[in-house]
């Protein structure tokens, strides 16, 4: 039996966008998946983001996620590098 999977877009900003040379990356994840799985998939698909991953947060539907946060099938996901507003 094949595991169910789904596709997500991860929005990229600031230094993450510059490193990836893209506004977003598309990832394929097994279902169910957590934010930790998203991190791992980013690591595999975009090694150039590696130096930024540890200090970055993931946001799901405009809220910060923990590693254990589940990823809904239809959601907006973003990688949030250390913020420097103000």
């Amino acid at each position: 039996m094949e595991h169910e999977s789904f596709t997500i877009q991860v929005l990229l900003f600031a230094r993450a966008r510059d490193l990836a040379k893209a506004d977003s990356v598309e990832l394929r994840l097994p279902f169910p998946a957590t934010a930790a799985d998203v991190r791992q998939a980013i690591r595999e698909c975009c090694p150039q983001l590696e130096p930024l991953l540890a200090s970055s947060a993931l946001a799901i539907n405009h809220d910060f996620a923990d590693d254990s946060t589940p990823i809904p099938k239809n959601c907006e996901i973003a990688l949030i590098p250390p913020v420097s507003g103000g």
């Binding site: 600031a14 970055s56 946001a59 907006e76 913020v83 507003g85």
Partner: protein, 140 residues
């Protein structure tokens, strides 16, 4: 009231908008683009935001401040785009009955904005070099 804008921040209108007859104290904080960071000279900064999340976080900060202090009105405005030295990048205005409250509330609001709101700035030096300002990792 929270707002992201690409236009110059109307700091006077913001200040006037928080005045309330029951509040004897208003504190306005302005963050402006500094010419130097350590020894590094800045010509301009480019600000970008993850706008819908930035607005959501700014609204959360407004609600948090209102829950902690007896706020008459509060306004938080962050500017985006290219800002030259001296321009106002962020403004927080708060009115409260008494000054200790207004000072604490404004300080808390700007601290939280700098910690939680997904906005980034890229520093452009006189030699044409540019780099993203390192910023603070989220501790939440």
């Amino acid at each position: 009231m929270i707002r992201l804008t690409r236009d110059p921040i109307e700091t006077h209108e913001l200040t006037q908008s928080v005045l309330r007859p029951g509040c004897g104290a208003v504190v306005l904080f302005l963050g402006t683009v500094r010419d130097l960071t350590g020894d590094e000279r800045t010509v301009f900064l480019d600000y970008e935001a993850y706008a819908p999340m930035a607005e959501a976080k700014m609204a959360e900060i407004e609600a948090d401040v209102r829950s902690r202090w007896p706020v008459g009105e509060i306004g938080i405005v962050h500017r985006l785009g290219r800002l030259y030295v001296g321009e106002v990048s962020v403004a927080v205005a708060v009115s409260c009955p008494h000054r200790d409250q207004a000072f604490e509330a404004a300080r808390h609001a700007i601290d939280r904005v700098k910690e939680l709101v997904p906005i980034w700035k890229k520093d452009h030096a006189p030699d044409g070099q540019s780099e993203w300002v390192p910023g603070t990792p989220l501790t939440r």
